[in-house]
Protein backbone atom coordinates (compact mmCIF):
# COMPACT_ATOMS: atom_id res chain seq x y z
CA UNK A 1 0.00 0.00 0.00
CA UNK A 2 2.60 2.50 1.10
CA UNK A 3 4.78 1.83 -1.91
CA UNK A 4 1.93 2.33 -4.33
CA UNK A 5 0.97 5.50 -2.60
CA UNK A 6 4.39 7.08 -3.01
CA UNK A 7 4.53 6.22 -6.69
CA UNK A 8 1.00 7.17 -7.64
CA UNK A 9 0.12 10.73 -8.62
CA UNK A 10 -1.87 13.09 -6.38
CA UNK A 11 -1.74 10.87 -3.37
CA UNK A 12 -0.60 13.68 -1.14
CA UNK A 13 2.10 11.46 0.31
CA UNK A 14 5.63 12.76 0.73
CA UNK A 15 8.15 11.96 -1.93
CA UNK A 16 11.22 10.42 -0.32
CA UNK A 17 13.25 12.89 -2.39
CA UNK A 18 11.67 15.70 -0.35
CA UNK A 19 13.00 14.26 2.86
CA UNK A 20 15.37 17.16 3.24
CA UNK A 21 12.28 19.24 4.00
CA UNK A 22 12.10 17.44 7.29
CA UNK A 23 15.16 19.31 8.43
CA UNK A 24 14.35 22.14 10.77
CA UNK A 25 15.04 25.47 9.12
CA UNK A 26 14.14 29.05 9.86
CA UNK A 27 13.41 29.49 6.18
CA UNK A 28 10.19 27.58 6.69
CA UNK A 29 7.55 30.23 7.51
CA UNK A 30 5.96 28.07 10.19
CA UNK A 31 9.30 27.41 11.86
CA UNK A 32 10.15 31.09 11.74
CA UNK A 33 6.80 32.03 13.24
CA UNK A 34 7.11 29.44 15.95
CA UNK A 35 10.61 30.60 16.80
CA UNK A 36 9.56 34.24 16.89
CA UNK A 37 6.67 33.45 19.21
CA UNK A 38 8.96 31.53 21.56
CA UNK A 39 11.30 34.49 21.71
CA UNK A 40 8.36 36.81 22.31
CA UNK A 41 7.01 34.83 25.26
CA UNK A 42 10.48 34.61 26.76
CA UNK A 43 10.99 38.33 26.37
CA UNK A 44 7.60 39.07 27.93
CA UNK A 45 8.46 36.89 30.90
CA UNK A 46 11.72 38.71 31.45
CA UNK A 47 9.95 42.03 30.99
CA UNK A 48 7.44 41.10 33.67
CA UNK A 49 10.07 39.91 36.11
CA UNK A 50 12.42 42.84 35.60
CA UNK A 51 10.47 45.42 37.64
CA UNK A 52 9.92 42.85 40.38
CA UNK A 53 13.59 42.13 40.74
CA UNK A 54 14.60 45.75 40.47
CA UNK A 55 12.23 46.56 43.34
CA UNK A 56 13.74 43.76 45.38
CA UNK A 57 17.23 44.89 44.51
CA UNK A 58 16.51 48.47 45.51
CA UNK A 59 14.90 47.28 48.70
CA UNK A 60 17.83 45.14 49.71
CA UNK A 61 20.38 47.75 48.73
CA UNK A 62 18.71 50.58 50.62
CA UNK A 63 17.21 48.58 53.42
CA UNK A 64 20.21 46.61 54.50
CA UNK A 65 22.16 49.74 55.44
CA UNK A 66 20.20 50.65 58.55
CA UNK A 67 19.31 47.09 59.40
CA UNK A 68 20.80 45.69 62.58
CA UNK A 69 19.72 43.13 65.07
CA UNK A 70 18.56 46.02 67.25
CA UNK A 71 16.19 47.10 64.48
CA UNK A 72 13.98 44.15 65.37
CA UNK A 73 13.88 44.89 69.08
CA UNK A 74 13.98 48.68 69.41
CA UNK A 75 11.32 51.33 69.17
CA UNK A 76 11.12 53.72 66.20
CA UNK A 77 13.79 56.42 66.36
CA UNK A 78 13.01 60.06 66.87
CA UNK A 79 14.27 62.56 64.32
CA UNK A 80 18.04 62.72 63.94
CA UNK A 81 18.65 60.10 66.58
CA UNK A 82 20.95 57.23 65.76
CA UNK A 83 19.74 53.64 66.11
CA UNK A 84 16.17 52.66 66.83
CA UNK A 85 14.13 50.01 65.10
CA UNK A 86 10.67 48.71 64.38
CA UNK A 87 10.20 46.04 67.05
CA UNK A 88 6.80 47.34 68.07
CA UNK A 89 5.73 47.57 64.43
CA UNK A 90 6.57 43.90 63.83
CA UNK A 91 4.64 42.88 66.93
CA UNK A 92 1.77 45.16 65.89
CA UNK A 93 1.65 43.78 62.36
CA UNK A 94 1.75 40.25 63.74
CA UNK A 95 -1.08 40.96 66.20
CA UNK A 96 -3.27 42.78 63.70
CA UNK A 97 -2.84 40.19 60.96
CA UNK A 98 -3.47 37.39 63.47
CA UNK A 99 -6.71 39.00 64.60
CA UNK A 100 -7.73 39.44 60.97
CA UNK A 101 -6.87 35.81 60.19
CA UNK A 102 -8.84 34.50 63.16
CA UNK A 103 -11.86 36.44 61.96
CA UNK A 104 -11.50 35.80 58.24
CA UNK A 105 -10.56 32.10 58.13
CA UNK A 106 -13.69 30.66 59.78
CA UNK A 107 -16.00 32.94 57.80
CA UNK A 108 -14.23 32.26 54.55
CA UNK A 109 -14.00 28.49 54.94
CA UNK A 110 -17.46 27.93 56.35
CA UNK A 111 -18.98 30.09 53.65
CA UNK A 112 -17.02 28.16 51.03
CA UNK A 113 -18.28 24.87 52.46
CA UNK A 114 -21.82 26.17 52.36
CA UNK A 115 -21.71 27.35 48.76
CA UNK A 116 -20.03 24.18 47.51
CA UNK A 117 -21.52 21.41 49.61
CA UNK A 118 -24.85 22.43 51.03
CA UNK A 119 -26.42 24.97 48.75
CA UNK A 120 -24.43 25.10 45.52
CA UNK A 121 -27.27 26.26 43.31
CA UNK A 122 -29.25 28.34 45.75
CA UNK A 123 -29.87 32.08 45.46
CA UNK A 124 -27.87 32.55 48.65
CA UNK A 125 -24.85 30.79 47.19
CA UNK A 126 -24.99 32.85 44.02
CA UNK A 127 -25.36 36.04 46.03
CA UNK A 128 -22.42 35.11 48.26
CA UNK A 129 -20.25 34.22 45.29
CA UNK A 130 -21.12 37.49 43.56
CA UNK A 131 -20.53 39.52 46.70
CA UNK A 132 -17.16 37.84 47.26
CA UNK A 133 -16.06 38.59 43.72
CA UNK A 134 -17.09 42.21 44.08
CA UNK A 135 -15.37 42.45 47.45
CA UNK A 136 -12.05 41.22 46.05
CA UNK A 137 -12.00 44.50 44.16
CA UNK A 138 -12.96 46.56 47.18
CA UNK A 139 -10.57 49.51 47.56
CA UNK A 140 -8.78 48.77 50.79
CA UNK A 141 -9.29 52.29 52.05
CA UNK A 142 -13.03 51.61 52.11
CA UNK A 143 -12.45 48.62 54.37
CA UNK A 144 -10.62 51.03 56.67
CA UNK A 145 -13.42 53.57 56.57
CA UNK A 146 -15.95 50.83 57.28
CA UNK A 147 -14.00 49.51 60.27
CA UNK A 148 -13.55 53.08 61.46
CA UNK A 149 -17.30 53.62 61.46
CA UNK A 150 -18.20 50.25 62.91
CA UNK A 151 -15.40 49.50 65.36
CA UNK A 152 -13.33 52.61 66.06
CA UNK A 153 -16.27 54.92 66.64
CA UNK A 154 -18.19 52.30 68.58
CA UNK A 155 -15.29 51.23 70.77
CA UNK A 156 -14.10 54.75 71.31
CA UNK A 157 -10.62 54.65 69.83
CA UNK A 158 -8.06 53.31 67.43
CA UNK A 159 -7.09 49.75 68.18
CA UNK A 160 -5.58 46.54 66.87
CA UNK A 161 -8.94 44.70 66.72
CA UNK A 162 -10.38 47.53 64.63
CA UNK A 163 -7.51 47.06 62.19
CA UNK A 164 -8.10 43.30 62.36
CA UNK A 165 -11.70 43.78 61.28
CA UNK A 166 -10.66 46.02 58.39
CA UNK A 167 -8.08 43.52 57.15
CA UNK A 168 -10.46 40.57 57.68
CA UNK A 169 -12.88 42.32 55.36
CA UNK A 170 -10.19 42.23 52.68
CA UNK A 171 -9.17 38.65 53.45
CA UNK A 172 -12.56 36.92 53.51
CA UNK A 173 -13.25 37.11 49.76
CA UNK A 174 -9.82 35.74 48.84
CA UNK A 175 -10.07 32.91 51.34
CA UNK A 176 -13.65 32.15 50.34
CA UNK A 177 -13.03 32.01 46.61
CA UNK A 178 -9.80 29.98 46.79
CA UNK A 179 -11.35 27.60 49.32
CA UNK A 180 -14.35 27.20 47.04
CA UNK A 181 -12.10 26.28 44.14
CA UNK A 182 -10.09 23.86 46.28
CA UNK A 183 -13.22 22.19 47.62
CA UNK A 184 -14.71 21.92 44.13
CA UNK A 185 -11.59 20.11 42.97
CA UNK A 186 -12.13 17.30 45.46
CA UNK A 187 -13.29 14.45 43.20
CA UNK A 188 -16.99 13.61 43.40
CA UNK A 189 -16.11 9.95 43.69
CA UNK A 190 -14.41 10.58 47.04
CA UNK A 191 -17.56 12.26 48.30
CA UNK A 192 -19.59 9.31 47.03
CA UNK A 193 -17.25 6.91 48.76
CA UNK A 194 -17.72 8.71 52.05
CA UNK A 195 -21.49 8.81 51.69
CA UNK A 196 -21.48 5.15 50.67
CA UNK A 197 -19.62 4.35 53.87
CA UNK A 198 -22.42 5.90 55.86
CA UNK A 199 -20.85 9.25 56.55
CA UNK A 200 -23.17 12.11 57.47
CA UNK A 201 -22.71 15.27 55.40
CA UNK A 202 -20.74 16.80 58.25
CA UNK A 203 -18.46 13.78 58.54
CA UNK A 204 -17.98 13.75 54.79
CA UNK A 205 -16.92 17.40 54.79
CA UNK A 206 -14.78 17.20 57.91
CA UNK A 207 -13.03 13.91 57.21
CA UNK A 208 -12.78 13.73 53.47
CA UNK A 209 -13.47 17.00 51.68
CA UNK A 210 -11.55 19.43 53.91
CA UNK A 211 -8.44 17.26 54.36
CA UNK A 212 -8.29 16.68 50.62
CA UNK A 213 -8.78 20.36 49.85
CA UNK A 214 -6.45 21.54 52.61
CA UNK A 215 -3.41 22.41 50.46
CA UNK A 216 -5.54 24.67 48.25
CA UNK A 217 -7.26 26.25 51.23
CA UNK A 218 -3.93 26.93 52.95
CA UNK A 219 -2.57 28.55 49.82
CA UNK A 220 -5.58 30.88 49.77
CA UNK A 221 -5.11 31.78 53.42
CA UNK A 222 -1.44 32.53 52.86
CA UNK A 223 -2.23 34.73 49.86
CA UNK A 224 -4.76 36.61 51.93
CA UNK A 225 -2.33 37.03 54.82
CA UNK A 226 0.40 38.24 52.49
CA UNK A 227 -1.91 40.82 51.01
CA UNK A 228 -3.25 41.95 54.37
CA UNK A 229 0.20 42.34 55.92
CA UNK A 230 1.15 44.94 53.35
CA UNK A 231 -2.03 47.01 53.53
CA UNK A 232 -1.55 50.56 54.75
CA UNK A 233 -4.69 52.55 54.02
CA UNK A 234 -7.07 50.53 56.22
CA UNK A 235 -4.66 50.74 59.13
CA UNK A 236 -4.50 54.54 59.00
CA UNK A 237 -8.18 54.60 59.87
CA UNK A 238 -8.13 51.87 62.46
CA UNK A 239 -4.85 51.14 64.21
CA UNK A 240 -3.16 54.43 63.47
CA UNK A 241 0.37 54.15 64.84
CA UNK A 242 2.17 54.04 68.10
CA UNK A 243 5.73 54.84 68.97
CA UNK A 244 5.56 52.49 71.90
CA UNK A 245 5.13 48.86 72.72
CA UNK A 246 1.57 47.65 72.98
CA UNK A 247 1.97 47.55 76.70
CA UNK A 248 3.67 50.83 77.43
CA UNK A 249 5.34 49.62 80.57
CA UNK A 250 7.49 46.93 79.05
CA UNK A 251 10.18 47.64 76.52
CA UNK A 252 10.95 43.97 75.92
CA UNK A 253 9.45 41.29 73.80
CA UNK A 254 6.67 38.83 74.59
CA UNK A 255 4.35 38.33 76.25
CA UNK A 256 3.75 41.57 78.07
CA UNK A 257 4.13 43.45 74.82
CA UNK A 258 0.73 42.06 73.86
CA UNK A 259 -0.84 44.04 76.68
CA UNK A 260 -2.99 46.89 75.48
CA UNK A 261 -4.93 45.72 72.45
CA UNK A 262 -7.37 48.58 72.58
CA UNK A 263 -4.79 51.30 71.99
CA UNK A 264 -3.39 52.68 68.75
CA UNK A 265 -1.06 50.03 67.43
CA UNK A 266 2.09 50.23 65.38
CA UNK A 267 2.49 48.32 62.14
CA UNK A 268 5.25 47.98 59.57
CA UNK A 269 3.08 49.27 56.75
CA UNK A 270 2.08 52.48 58.52
CA UNK A 271 5.62 52.96 59.77
CA UNK A 272 6.92 52.81 56.21
CA UNK A 273 4.22 55.26 55.19
CA UNK A 274 5.03 57.69 58.01
CA UNK A 275 8.79 57.53 57.79
CA UNK A 276 9.07 57.58 54.04
CA UNK A 277 7.57 61.05 54.09
CA UNK A 278 9.90 62.18 56.84
CA UNK A 279 12.48 64.91 56.16
CA UNK A 280 15.02 63.15 58.36
CA UNK A 281 17.55 60.79 56.87
CA UNK A 282 17.59 58.37 59.77
CA UNK A 283 13.83 57.87 59.57
CA UNK A 284 13.91 57.44 55.80
CA UNK A 285 16.60 54.81 56.20
CA UNK A 286 14.48 53.10 58.83
CA UNK A 287 11.55 53.10 56.42
CA UNK A 288 13.68 51.21 53.90
CA UNK A 289 14.71 48.69 56.52
CA UNK A 290 11.13 48.23 57.65
CA UNK A 291 10.08 47.70 54.02
CA UNK A 292 12.74 45.05 53.59
CA UNK A 293 11.63 43.37 56.82
CA UNK A 294 7.99 43.42 55.67
CA UNK A 295 8.84 41.86 52.33
CA UNK A 296 10.95 39.18 54.00
CA UNK A 297 8.17 38.40 56.49
CA UNK A 298 5.59 38.11 53.73
CA UNK A 299 7.97 35.95 51.71
CA UNK A 300 8.64 33.67 54.67
CA UNK A 301 4.91 33.37 55.34
CA UNK A 302 4.40 32.33 51.75
CA UNK A 303 7.22 29.81 51.81
CA UNK A 304 5.96 28.39 55.08
CA UNK A 305 2.48 28.15 53.62
CA UNK A 306 3.74 26.34 50.53
CA UNK A 307 5.73 23.92 52.64
CA UNK A 308 2.74 23.32 54.89
CA UNK A 309 0.50 22.74 51.91
CA UNK A 310 2.99 20.32 50.44
CA UNK A 311 3.31 18.44 53.70
CA UNK A 312 -0.41 18.10 54.16
CA UNK A 313 -0.87 16.91 50.61
CA UNK A 314 1.61 14.11 51.23
CA UNK A 315 -0.36 11.65 53.21
CA UNK A 316 0.61 10.75 56.72
Amino acid sequence: MAVEATNGPNTGALDPAELKDLEWSLRQPRSLFSFAMSVLTGAATIGALLPLFSVLYLLVQKGIAALHFASFTDLPPAAMVEGGGFGNAIVGTFVIVSIATFIAVPFGIFAAIYITEFGPDTQTANAVRFAAKVLTGLPSILAGVFAFAVVVVASGGFSAPAAGVALALLMVPTILLTAEEAIKRVPTRMREAAVGMGATPTQMVARVVLPTALPGILTGIMLAIARAAGETAPLLFTALFSDFWMSRTNPHFLPKTMGDLMKPTASLAVMIYNFSGSPFDNQIAMAWSAALALVVIVLLTNIAGQALAKRTSNIR
Binding site: M190, V195, M197, G198, Q203, I315
Partner: protein, 275 residues
Protein backbone atom coordinates in the same frame (compact mmCIF):
# COMPACT_ATOMS: atom_id res chain seq x y z
CA UNK B 1 -43.10 -3.11 20.62
CA UNK B 2 -45.22 -3.47 23.69
CA UNK B 3 -43.53 -3.13 27.00
CA UNK B 4 -43.17 -6.51 28.54
CA UNK B 5 -44.42 -7.23 31.95
CA UNK B 6 -41.79 -7.79 34.50
CA UNK B 7 -41.28 -11.41 35.23
CA UNK B 8 -39.94 -12.76 38.45
CA UNK B 9 -39.51 -16.23 39.73
CA UNK B 10 -41.16 -15.36 42.97
CA UNK B 11 -44.16 -13.31 43.94
CA UNK B 12 -43.34 -9.95 45.48
CA UNK B 13 -43.83 -10.12 49.20
CA UNK B 14 -43.89 -7.10 51.38
CA UNK B 15 -42.20 -8.86 54.19
CA UNK B 16 -39.40 -11.27 54.09
CA UNK B 17 -40.11 -13.80 56.73
CA UNK B 18 -39.40 -17.44 56.96
CA UNK B 19 -37.02 -17.71 54.01
CA UNK B 20 -33.50 -16.33 53.96
CA UNK B 21 -34.27 -13.26 51.89
CA UNK B 22 -32.09 -10.39 53.03
CA UNK B 23 -33.21 -7.69 50.62
CA UNK B 24 -36.64 -7.58 49.10
CA UNK B 25 -36.62 -4.89 46.49
CA UNK B 26 -39.58 -3.55 44.54
CA UNK B 27 -39.21 -0.47 42.41
CA UNK B 28 -42.57 0.56 41.02
CA UNK B 29 -41.36 3.84 39.61
CA UNK B 30 -38.20 5.86 39.99
CA UNK B 31 -38.00 9.42 38.75
CA UNK B 32 -35.22 11.94 38.44
CA UNK B 33 -37.31 15.07 38.23
CA UNK B 34 -39.71 14.49 35.33
CA UNK B 35 -37.56 11.74 33.85
CA UNK B 36 -38.78 8.26 34.63
CA UNK B 37 -35.55 6.33 34.92
CA UNK B 38 -36.67 2.90 36.10
CA UNK B 39 -39.93 1.05 36.56
CA UNK B 40 -41.18 -2.40 37.51
CA UNK B 41 -38.30 -4.06 39.20
CA UNK B 42 -39.02 -6.76 41.73
CA UNK B 43 -36.40 -9.06 43.08
CA UNK B 44 -35.38 -10.75 46.28
CA UNK B 45 -31.79 -11.13 47.23
CA UNK B 46 -30.94 -14.13 49.37
CA UNK B 47 -28.39 -14.06 52.10
CA UNK B 48 -24.92 -15.20 51.06
CA UNK B 49 -25.50 -14.98 47.32
CA UNK B 50 -24.23 -12.85 44.48
CA UNK B 51 -26.88 -11.16 42.41
CA UNK B 52 -25.94 -9.57 39.12
CA UNK B 53 -27.72 -6.79 37.25
CA UNK B 54 -27.08 -6.96 33.52
CA UNK B 55 -28.48 -5.12 30.54
CA UNK B 56 -27.60 -2.53 27.91
CA UNK B 57 -26.29 0.92 28.76
CA UNK B 58 -28.93 3.23 30.16
CA UNK B 59 -31.18 0.42 31.33
CA UNK B 60 -30.99 1.63 34.90
CA UNK B 61 -28.82 -1.13 36.37
CA UNK B 62 -26.72 1.27 38.41
CA UNK B 63 -29.76 3.30 39.37
CA UNK B 64 -31.50 0.18 40.62
CA UNK B 65 -28.42 -0.86 42.57
CA UNK B 66 -28.05 2.56 44.13
CA UNK B 67 -31.62 2.31 45.37
CA UNK B 68 -30.58 -0.49 47.65
CA UNK B 69 -28.64 1.77 49.99
CA UNK B 70 -30.31 5.07 49.18
CA UNK B 71 -27.34 6.50 47.31
CA UNK B 72 -29.85 8.03 44.91
CA UNK B 73 -31.04 10.32 47.67
CA UNK B 74 -28.09 12.52 46.73
CA UNK B 75 -29.46 13.11 43.24
CA UNK B 76 -31.60 16.17 42.86
CA UNK B 77 -35.21 15.46 41.98
CA UNK B 78 -34.97 11.79 42.93
CA UNK B 79 -38.36 10.29 43.60
CA UNK B 80 -38.94 6.67 44.45
CA UNK B 81 -42.11 4.61 44.61
CA UNK B 82 -41.74 1.11 45.92
CA UNK B 83 -40.01 -0.49 48.81
CA UNK B 84 -36.75 -2.11 49.78
CA UNK B 85 -37.22 -4.39 52.74
CA UNK B 86 -33.99 -5.01 54.60
CA UNK B 87 -34.28 -7.32 57.61
CA UNK B 88 -38.00 -6.73 57.81
CA UNK B 89 -37.71 -2.96 57.61
CA UNK B 90 -38.50 -0.77 54.62
CA UNK B 91 -35.46 1.46 54.18
CA UNK B 92 -37.64 4.00 52.35
CA UNK B 93 -40.09 4.28 55.20
CA UNK B 94 -40.33 7.86 56.42
CA UNK B 95 -38.12 8.33 59.44
CA UNK B 96 -35.43 5.92 58.30
CA UNK B 97 -31.99 7.52 58.32
CA UNK B 98 -30.25 6.85 55.00
CA UNK B 99 -26.89 7.29 56.72
CA UNK B 100 -27.68 4.36 59.03
CA UNK B 101 -28.84 2.29 56.04
CA UNK B 102 -25.52 2.85 54.27
CA UNK B 103 -23.60 1.62 57.27
CA UNK B 104 -25.31 -1.76 56.87
CA UNK B 105 -25.33 -1.80 53.09
CA UNK B 106 -21.89 -0.86 51.81
CA UNK B 107 -20.85 0.12 48.34
CA UNK B 108 -17.94 -0.32 45.95
CA UNK B 109 -17.88 2.01 42.98
CA UNK B 110 -16.97 1.82 39.31
CA UNK B 111 -13.88 3.99 39.64
CA UNK B 112 -11.62 2.96 42.50
CA UNK B 113 -12.05 5.86 44.90
CA UNK B 114 -9.72 5.63 47.85
CA UNK B 115 -9.49 8.73 49.99
CA UNK B 116 -6.37 10.87 49.81
CA UNK B 117 -5.01 9.32 52.97
CA UNK B 118 -2.90 6.36 53.98
CA UNK B 119 -3.95 2.79 53.26
CA UNK B 120 -4.46 2.27 56.97
CA UNK B 121 -6.64 5.32 57.41
CA UNK B 122 -8.67 4.42 54.35
CA UNK B 123 -9.60 1.08 55.83
CA UNK B 124 -10.10 2.50 59.31
CA UNK B 125 -12.38 5.23 57.95
CA UNK B 126 -15.65 3.38 58.50
CA UNK B 127 -14.56 2.14 61.91
CA UNK B 128 -13.84 5.69 62.97
CA UNK B 129 -17.20 6.86 61.62
CA UNK B 130 -18.84 4.27 63.82
CA UNK B 131 -16.61 5.24 66.75
CA UNK B 132 -15.36 1.68 66.93
CA UNK B 133 -13.84 1.15 70.33
CA UNK B 134 -11.94 -2.08 69.80
CA UNK B 135 -8.57 -2.74 68.26
CA UNK B 136 -8.70 -0.79 65.01
CA UNK B 137 -5.38 -2.20 63.78
CA UNK B 138 -6.69 -5.76 64.02
CA UNK B 139 -9.83 -4.86 62.14
CA UNK B 140 -7.79 -3.14 59.45
CA UNK B 141 -5.61 -6.20 59.00
CA UNK B 142 -8.65 -8.45 58.94
CA UNK B 143 -10.32 -6.31 56.29
CA UNK B 144 -7.19 -6.12 54.15
CA UNK B 145 -6.80 -9.89 54.39
CA UNK B 146 -10.45 -10.26 53.50
CA UNK B 147 -9.87 -8.17 50.40
CA UNK B 148 -6.77 -10.22 49.49
CA UNK B 149 -4.59 -7.13 49.73
CA UNK B 150 -2.78 -7.65 53.02
CA UNK B 151 0.34 -9.32 51.68
CA UNK B 152 0.88 -6.59 49.12
CA UNK B 153 0.49 -3.63 51.47
CA UNK B 154 1.42 -4.86 54.94
CA UNK B 155 4.80 -3.14 54.74
CA UNK B 156 3.45 0.19 53.55
CA UNK B 157 0.23 0.66 55.48
CA UNK B 158 1.03 4.30 56.06
CA UNK B 159 1.73 5.28 52.50
CA UNK B 160 -0.95 6.85 50.36
CA UNK B 161 -3.82 4.74 49.13
CA UNK B 162 -3.66 6.70 45.90
CA UNK B 163 -0.19 5.32 45.16
CA UNK B 164 -1.53 1.79 44.61
CA UNK B 165 -2.32 0.34 41.18
CA UNK B 166 -5.91 0.42 39.93
CA UNK B 167 -6.64 -3.15 40.91
CA UNK B 168 -5.07 -2.70 44.32
CA UNK B 169 -7.03 0.51 44.82
CA UNK B 170 -10.25 -1.32 44.06
CA UNK B 171 -9.36 -4.07 46.56
CA UNK B 172 -8.54 -1.32 49.04
CA UNK B 173 -12.03 0.08 48.49
CA UNK B 174 -13.44 -3.39 49.09
CA UNK B 175 -11.39 -3.67 52.27
CA UNK B 176 -12.66 -0.27 53.33
CA UNK B 177 -16.23 -1.36 52.69
CA UNK B 178 -15.96 -4.66 54.56
CA UNK B 179 -14.02 -3.29 57.53
CA UNK B 180 -17.28 -2.39 59.22
CA UNK B 181 -18.79 -5.75 58.27
CA UNK B 182 -21.90 -4.57 56.49
CA UNK B 183 -24.58 -7.13 55.70
CA UNK B 184 -24.69 -6.32 52.01
CA UNK B 185 -22.04 -5.16 49.57
CA UNK B 186 -23.21 -3.32 46.48
CA UNK B 187 -20.70 -3.27 43.63
CA UNK B 188 -21.30 -0.91 40.73
CA UNK B 189 -19.26 -2.25 37.80
CA UNK B 190 -16.29 -2.80 40.09
CA UNK B 191 -14.04 -4.15 37.35
CA UNK B 192 -14.83 -1.87 34.45
CA UNK B 193 -11.76 0.28 35.10
CA UNK B 194 -9.45 -2.69 35.64
CA UNK B 195 -7.33 -4.92 33.45
CA UNK B 196 -8.18 -8.61 33.02
CA UNK B 197 -5.75 -9.83 35.68
CA UNK B 198 -7.08 -7.45 38.29
CA UNK B 199 -10.61 -8.30 37.20
CA UNK B 200 -9.93 -11.98 37.74
CA UNK B 201 -8.64 -11.29 41.24
CA UNK B 202 -11.70 -9.28 42.15
CA UNK B 203 -13.97 -12.02 40.84
CA UNK B 204 -12.16 -14.64 42.91
CA UNK B 205 -12.47 -12.30 45.85
CA UNK B 206 -16.21 -11.92 45.35
CA UNK B 207 -16.67 -15.69 45.47
CA UNK B 208 -14.74 -15.69 48.73
CA UNK B 209 -16.64 -12.73 50.13
CA UNK B 210 -20.06 -14.22 49.59
CA UNK B 211 -19.39 -16.65 52.42
CA UNK B 212 -19.74 -13.70 54.75
CA UNK B 213 -21.50 -11.02 52.79
CA UNK B 214 -24.39 -10.76 50.45
CA UNK B 215 -23.37 -9.13 47.20
CA UNK B 216 -25.23 -7.33 44.47
CA UNK B 217 -23.21 -6.37 41.43
CA UNK B 218 -23.85 -4.36 38.31
CA UNK B 219 -21.82 -5.49 35.35
CA UNK B 220 -21.81 -4.89 31.63
CA UNK B 221 -19.67 -7.96 31.25
CA UNK B 222 -22.00 -10.91 30.63
CA UNK B 223 -19.23 -13.42 31.18
CA UNK B 224 -18.55 -11.89 34.55
CA UNK B 225 -22.17 -12.29 35.57
CA UNK B 226 -22.03 -15.88 34.38
CA UNK B 227 -18.84 -16.54 36.32
CA UNK B 228 -19.73 -15.06 39.67
CA UNK B 229 -23.46 -14.55 40.05
CA UNK B 230 -25.92 -16.98 41.60
CA UNK B 231 -28.88 -14.93 40.48
CA UNK B 232 -29.11 -12.55 37.54
CA UNK B 233 -31.56 -9.82 36.73
CA UNK B 234 -31.79 -8.68 33.14
CA UNK B 235 -32.90 -5.10 32.66
CA UNK B 236 -33.86 -3.51 29.38
CA UNK B 237 -34.76 -0.07 28.09
CA UNK B 238 -38.29 0.85 27.19
CA UNK B 239 -38.46 3.74 24.74
CA UNK B 240 -42.15 3.47 23.87
CA UNK B 241 -43.46 5.90 26.46
CA UNK B 242 -41.07 8.70 25.56
CA UNK B 243 -37.72 8.89 27.24
CA UNK B 244 -35.70 5.87 28.18
CA UNK B 245 -37.06 3.91 31.07
CA UNK B 246 -35.29 0.84 32.35
CA UNK B 247 -37.30 -2.12 33.56
CA UNK B 248 -36.78 -5.68 34.66
CA UNK B 249 -37.32 -8.22 31.92
CA UNK B 250 -36.26 -11.34 33.66
CA UNK B 251 -34.85 -12.44 36.97
CA UNK B 252 -33.74 -15.91 37.93
CA UNK B 253 -30.85 -18.22 38.68
CA UNK B 254 -27.89 -17.29 36.50
CA UNK B 255 -27.56 -20.69 34.82
CA UNK B 256 -31.21 -20.83 33.92
CA UNK B 257 -31.25 -17.28 32.64
CA UNK B 258 -28.24 -17.77 30.41
CA UNK B 259 -29.11 -21.30 29.23
CA UNK B 260 -32.78 -20.87 28.79
CA UNK B 261 -33.97 -17.27 28.74
CA UNK B 262 -37.72 -16.96 28.83
CA UNK B 263 -38.07 -13.60 27.14
CA UNK B 264 -37.17 -12.57 23.62
CA UNK B 265 -35.30 -9.45 24.78
CA UNK B 266 -33.14 -11.54 27.07
CA UNK B 267 -32.46 -14.07 24.35
CA UNK B 268 -31.51 -11.37 21.84
CA UNK B 269 -29.30 -9.54 24.30
CA UNK B 270 -27.46 -12.63 25.47
CA UNK B 271 -26.80 -13.70 21.89
CA UNK B 272 -25.61 -10.24 20.96
CA UNK B 273 -28.57 -9.33 18.77
CA UNK B 274 -29.76 -6.20 20.41
CA UNK B 275 -30.49 -2.82 19.02
Amino acid sequence: MTPLESRTNGVAHHHANGDDTLLDCTIEELHYGKFKAVRDIALKIKKGTITAFIGPSGCGKSTALRCLNRMNDLVKGFHFRGHVIFRGQDIYKPGVDPVAVRRHIGMVFQQPNPFAMSIYRNVAFGLRLNRYKGAVADKVEQALRGAALWDEVKDKLHSSGLALSGGQQQRLCIARAIATEPAVLLMDEPCSALDPVATHRIEELMKELKKKYTIAIVTHNLQQAKRVADMTAFLYVDTTQGGRTGYQVEYGPTDALFENPQEKHTKDYLSGEFS
